[in-house]
Symmetry: C2
Subunit: 184 residues, 2 copies
């Protein structure tokens, strides 16, 4: 894609309880066009899962563990979006976000339930995918699909060991290096 880079930052993680949600944030970021996810440093298990998927299904996609989410966000050189049900409506601000993104790499902050107020203040855009309580994974997905206007769905993957071939019914998985795509 031509889009300048997008990093998704997950704020907050409770090992055990949040493993699947954090994993899904990472896998959604990868599948829907982001280049990198930053997890809290106690989310090693989620990071391993996302890296494993990248190894099998391709990249490039980076997974990083950090303990400085606040400073990382504050020091980000480019626009910062914070996804929150309290924010401005995505349909009202998505064009402005896209224009800002054209000027520099975008950071998308995805919180758990208690995001400190300084994230609201450091964000250039607090954005709500609806102002209803639902799912940070759903919000991230719709936000990225709208940010890229669907172009992320056409992405091609490098260094994949396997590739799913779309089917009307059933499952077909091939080795991308096999030109004829023999079924697995």
């Amino acid at each position: 894609m031509d889009d300048s880079r997008v990093t998704v930052l997950r704020y907050g993680h409770r090992p055990g309880r949040d493993d699947r949600m954090t994993t899904h944030v990472g896998l959604t970021a990868r599948a829907l066009g982001a280049d990198r996810v930053v997890f809290p440093d106690n989310a090693g298990q989620a990071a391993d899962t996302v890296r494993g998927v990248t190894d099998r299904f391709g990249g490039p996609f980076e997974v990083e563990l950090r303990d400085d989410q606040r400073a990382f966000t504050r020091d980000w050189e480019g626009p910062v979006v914070h996804l929150t049900m309290y924010g401005e409506r995505v349909q009202d601000v998505e064009r402005e976000v896209r224009e800002a993104h054209a000027e520099g790499p975008l950071l998308v902050v995805v919180g758990g339930e208690k995001v400190p107020f300084d994230f609201y203040e450091h964000a250039d855009f607090n954005v709500g995918v609806t102002n209803q309580p639902h799912s940070e994974v759903a919000g991230l997905a719709v936000f990225l699909d709208r940010l890229f206007e669907g172009r992320e769905l056409e992405r091609e993957w490098a260094d994949a060991e396997r590739r799913v071939v779309p089917q009307e019914t059933g499952k077909r998985v091939v080795d991308p290096d096999d030109a004829d795509g023999g079924a697995e």
Copy 2:
């Protein structure tokens, strides 16, 4: 909305392990324009959470527990979509799904990891929101946003006890019955 009805059916639920994912499927269905979610009958805790959100933030939205997911899908009178990473690309089939939906109520099946093959066969459309492994919640969100072409974001809610007012920064929640919207 003018759209004929959309029901989301969650196949499979492991109490404890899947509580949050199933809850997020239900909340995403509600927030992004579906009328009803059907959970397996062992997902009572997730059902309670979604009903509680509907009580506070408005409806109408129905939550149903059933033990006959297979028969319910087989006997559905209207088009059936099964979301799966093995399916046809959403960008290729969304128009056809919309046309089918115009003719009758739509059932959207959202699986866990092991959906039996008869769901693939009973579905009129097996649809992949990317052919990458990510999140059933993310897939459902993008699918609904594309199905409704964004109209779901304009939905108004009846009988809400509270309403979030979109803000550039911070949080504002009001009582919908208070015309001036005094802060909570």
